[in-house]
């Protein structure tokens, strides 16, 4: 995993350096006098030759230092630590919603293949794949926050709610730990809309793969055999169809979770959610070298961990899979 991370970091490091851009000039804007631009460039070490910058970068990386962000003037690690919990909370809630919708929809449409229910569910999930996040997010805010007034507006917590002390950074968990139920409910309500948007969009992928995977299993001999033995249909579905179909589904769930954890810039923007997506987008706009490389390293780590977990689940799901 360390090699993957260092490899990716190296590639991104050199890509950012090759692009003909001046992050310091972009941050300081057109007004800054040239002496100031040069001085700040020296402060960040961007005046050194690229190989020297790379050596410094690797040495710092091994020490766990991702450098200082140019646009926030803080250590990149601090910035990411601050934003990752918000993204993690939203991604996890979104994944739960995606699973709650995606898996049942996939199973139902596979078992009822070509029925009107199947067509209806497939149309709904097609909407999920093709719907612009931006539009859906605003419509949900308009309906549930503005018109009906049953859900709170953007943000993670209403300003009048006492914020729980920061332990994990996940407001829902922190408020439970500190026994602050008002904050817990408020944070949960704030999660509903953004998590529904992301969850619905992601559910479409899960539903499609679930359907395809189950249809594949339905054709297998063991299913026909189980039916011919006269086993109850429900038992066949649960024990002989769903479980063997789970491997591709788990793979997709891993990918969906990974991409949710990268942050979702549009959803974050609409719901004023302080996550990783808007941080990385801003970093890219300003060519904030250290923040881009740091962010990519974190995303690479996330994907590696999610893949590892997916691999472990494989072993549990299919006893034939063994890792040496």
């Amino acid at each position: 995993m360390a090699f993957v991370v260092i490899g990716i970091a190296t590639i991104v490091f050199f890509v950012t350096r090759v692009i003909p851009a001046d992050p310091i000039g972009a941050i300081l804007g057109p007004q800054a006098p040239p002496e100031v631009v040069d001085r700040i460039r020296r402060e960040y070490g961007f005046d050194k030759p690229v190989y020297q910058q790379y050596i410094d970068f690797i040495v710092n990386l091994l020490r766990g230092d991702l450098g200082r962000s140019i646009s926030t003037n803080r250590p990149v690690l601090e910035d990411i630590k601050e934003r990752l919990p918000a993204t993690f909370e939203l991604a996890t809630a979104s994944l739960l919603i995606a699973l709650l919708i995606g898996i049942p929809v996939g199973i139902i449409s596979a078992i009822r293949k070509d029925s009107s229910l199947d067509h209806m569910l497939r149309i709904v999930s097609l909407f999920g794949i093709s719907m612009p996040v931006f539009w859906l997010g605003l419509i949900l805010l308009l309906v549930f926050y503005y018109t009906l007034g049953i859900l709170p507006g953007p943000g993670r917590l209403d300003p009048y709610v006492q914020e729980p002390p920061r332990i994990t950074g996940l407001i829902t968990i922190d408020s439970l730990i500190s026994g602050n139920m008002a904050a817990f409910i408020n944070a949960l309500l704030h999660l509903i809309l953004p998590a529904s948007v992301l969850g619905y969009l992601s559910s479409a992928y899960i539903a499609r793969i679930t359907r395809a995977s189950i249809l594949e299993t339905l054709k297998q001999d063991h299913v026909r055999f189980a039916r011919s033995k006269g086993l109850p249909w429900r038992e066949i579905v649960v024990r002989h169809i769903i479980r063997p179909s789970l491997i591709p589904i788990v793979t997709v769930i891993g990918l969906v979770y990974g991409s949710l954890l990268e942050g979702a810039v549009l959803t974050e923007t609409i719901f004023a959610w302080p996550g990783l997506g808007s941080y990385l987008t801003r970093a890219m706009v300003f060519m904030d070298y250290n923040a881009i490389v740091g962010g990519v390293i974190v995303i690479a780590l996330i994907y590696s961990i999610v893949n590892l977990v997916v691999d472990i689940i494989y072993v549990y799901l299919d006893p034939r899979i063994k890792y040496g």
Binding site: A26, R39, Y146, I150, G155, L189, P274
Partner: protein, 546 residues
């Protein structure tokens, strides 16, 4: 198929049961939400002592006056600190006393003496005296962070700022400068006065407390920085020791709402009092709604086209004049910006001293073609125009300019670039034509005059390789002129000269819009991007329940 037939029907009962269960669950959840509705309706914006502002605060880097240089941080610093002098919008040309109750300048114009108002206390109760002023201004120069150049352009070294007694400070300048110019820089947040004791108590290494001041305040202004959750909110609390009296609004919450459409929903719902980031489309949609007031005001920012006169074609002044006549200014302002701009063609924005309302250029294709023919380019030529990629409205304006210049035979090749790349190439004098904006850091005409007019300081004139000594000399004379009327006359001369000969097409001055609830009173917008926004004067009329 497997899933059809009698078996499928046999399991239908549990399916139906689970669907019924799901519906029950969902409806109980919706019922729960509706029952919560009452508590949801509690909104801070409707509290008379709380002001909630929706703004994109992602630009803020530090709330230390010696570091703050972005819109959000400058706005905050101005609420939590006092400066020697201040500026009261909407009149940006008049300097008013703040911590300094009076000042004088030596006959040679280089030694300034400020008398400090007695009785001012910092928020923690410590007295504000001349030593604090000396410490704060020296600190900016010693730390030498991004905005330090504002003071460094006039003051050579920290020791030139001296507290001569408890309530007198003298500042020695490198050279004589126009009084309004120097004072306008002292009115900027970089010159804010910090509490030396508190700052030094939190210093680590030789940072002079800068790390701590990033998200704390140690000022004497109307508010205290109570909390800054990055990318979430900034909370300001009234300073009970404020020397002008405790402000009417006790708590100001600047909520991070990056999306304009979301800002609009929050404002209309009454969950925020003021929305700073609404686009012109959204402004059009809400401006007539009951309970909403929109204020539009030009800000100190000009959108212009810079032309590098080192280019073979652009080195001929007739070509530049032809371009000035080829552009459809009214079309850009009316169709693309729809009220988001004011027609200005000179380099000093309204309402600064020296603003020149002259707009002699209009679209005249025949005149433009004739000028091109005289210059020997009857068949036109090809030229590149750089602009920030994906930026609105720059993208549309660039396309419009491509079309306008195309009509007179100039084939414009559009070169969208990331801002980071564009500024780098601009600084290297490597662009042919560029569509860019210039915002004034401090409300004195010198800021724009030297950028556009004086190549010697290596800003816009230099980047466009316009090494014009007449213009540069005028800028330097006005820089030193202490008589206000004479200075104004010099700027008149300079703006006319650049209008006719400069390698710039000033397209317009940007107009901003701020939307607020009608219960917000005494809000005076600041053309200087919030640098001189005085939120302590704002109050709310008793709010009727919605």
């Amino acid at each position: 198929m497997v899933a059809s037939g009698s078996q499928g029907r046999r399991i239908s009962t549990p399916w139906i049961l689970s669907i019924v269960l799901l519906i029950l669950l969902l409806s109980s959840w919706v019922y729960f939400l509706f029952s919560m509705r009452q508590t949801q309706q509690y909104s801070l914006a409707t509290q008379p002592d709380t002001l909630v502002i929706a703004q994109d605060i992602s630009d803020a880097v530090s709330m230390d006056p010696a570091v703050a240089y972005e819109f959000t941080s400058v706005l905050v610093v101005n609420q939590v600190y006092d400066k020697l002098v201040d500026i009261e919008p909407p009149d940006l040309t008049r300097i008013v006393p703040e911590v300094a109750e009076s000042w004088s300048v030596s006959p040679d114009g280089t030694l300034w003496t400020f008398k400090i108002r007695q009785g001012i206390k910092f928020a923690n109760g410590d007295p504000l005296d001349a030593k604090a002023v000396e410490y704060s201004l020296r600190r900016v120069i010693t730390l030498s962070k991004t905005p330090a150049w504002l003071l460094q352009q006039f003051i050579a070294k920290p020791e030139d700022i001296v507290a001569t007694d408890s309530y007198t400070v003298t500042i020695k300048l490198k050279e004589k400068v126009a009084p309004d110019l120097f004072l306008s820089v002292l009115a900027f947040t970089t010159s804010a006065i910090v509490n030396p004791k508190e700052v030094e108590a939190h210093a680590s290494g030789n940072d002079m407390g800068s790390t701590w001041l990033t998200d704390h305040s140690a000022g004497s202004g109307p508010y205290i920085l109570a909390k800054w959750d990055r990318n979430s909110q900034i909370v300001l609390k009234a300073n009970p020791n404020y020397w002008r009296g405790k402000p009417a609004i006790d708590t100001i919450i600047i909520k991070h709402v990056p999306e304009p459409a979301t800002q609009r929903l929050l404002l209309e719902k009454g969950d925020v009092d003021i929305a700073f980031g609404l686009t012109i489309d959204l402004i059009d949609q809400i401006k007539d709604k009951p309970g909403i007031r929109v204020i539009s005001y030009p800000v100190l920012k000009l959108e212009y086209i810079g032309m590098n006169v080192n280019n073979k074609y652009l080195s001929d002044e007739r070509v530049i004049t032809a371009i000035k006549y080829a552009i459809d200014y009214d079309g850009i302002i009316k169709d693309i910006l729809r009220g988001g701009a004011m027609k200005v063609q000179t380099i000093i924005p309204y309402p600064l001293l020296g603003f020149n309302p002259s707009t002699p250029f209009y679209r005249d294709i025949n005149k433009a073609k004739q000028l091109l023919t005289e210059a020997g380019y009857a068949n036109g030529f090809e030229i590149e125009l750089a602009y920030p990629a994906g930026a609105h409205p720059q993208e549309e304006i660039a396309q419009k300019i491509q079309k306008d210049l195309g009509d007179v035979g100039i084939r414009v090749v559009l070169r969208p670039m990331a801002a980071s790349e564009m500024y780098q190439r601009y600084r290297q004098q490597a662009l042919q034509m560029v569509l860019a904006a210039w915002g004034s850091d401090y409300p004195d005409p010198d800021n724009n005059a030297k950028a556009f007019g004086n190549y010697r300081i290596k800003q816009l004139a230099w980047r466009n390789m316009w090494y014009d000594n007449i213009s540069a000399d005028l800028v330097e004379r006005a820089f030193r002129e202490s008589d206000r009327a004479a200075r104004e006359a010099l700027y008149k001369q300079l703006t006319e000269y650049i209008l006719q000969h400069g390698p710039y097409v000033v397209l317009y001055q940007i107009v901003k819009h701020v939307a607020m609830r009608t219960w917000v009173e005494n809000f005076v917008p600041d053309p200087s991007f919030g640098t001189y926004l005085h939120l302590y004067k704002v109050y709310k009329e008793a709010v009727v329940s919605r």
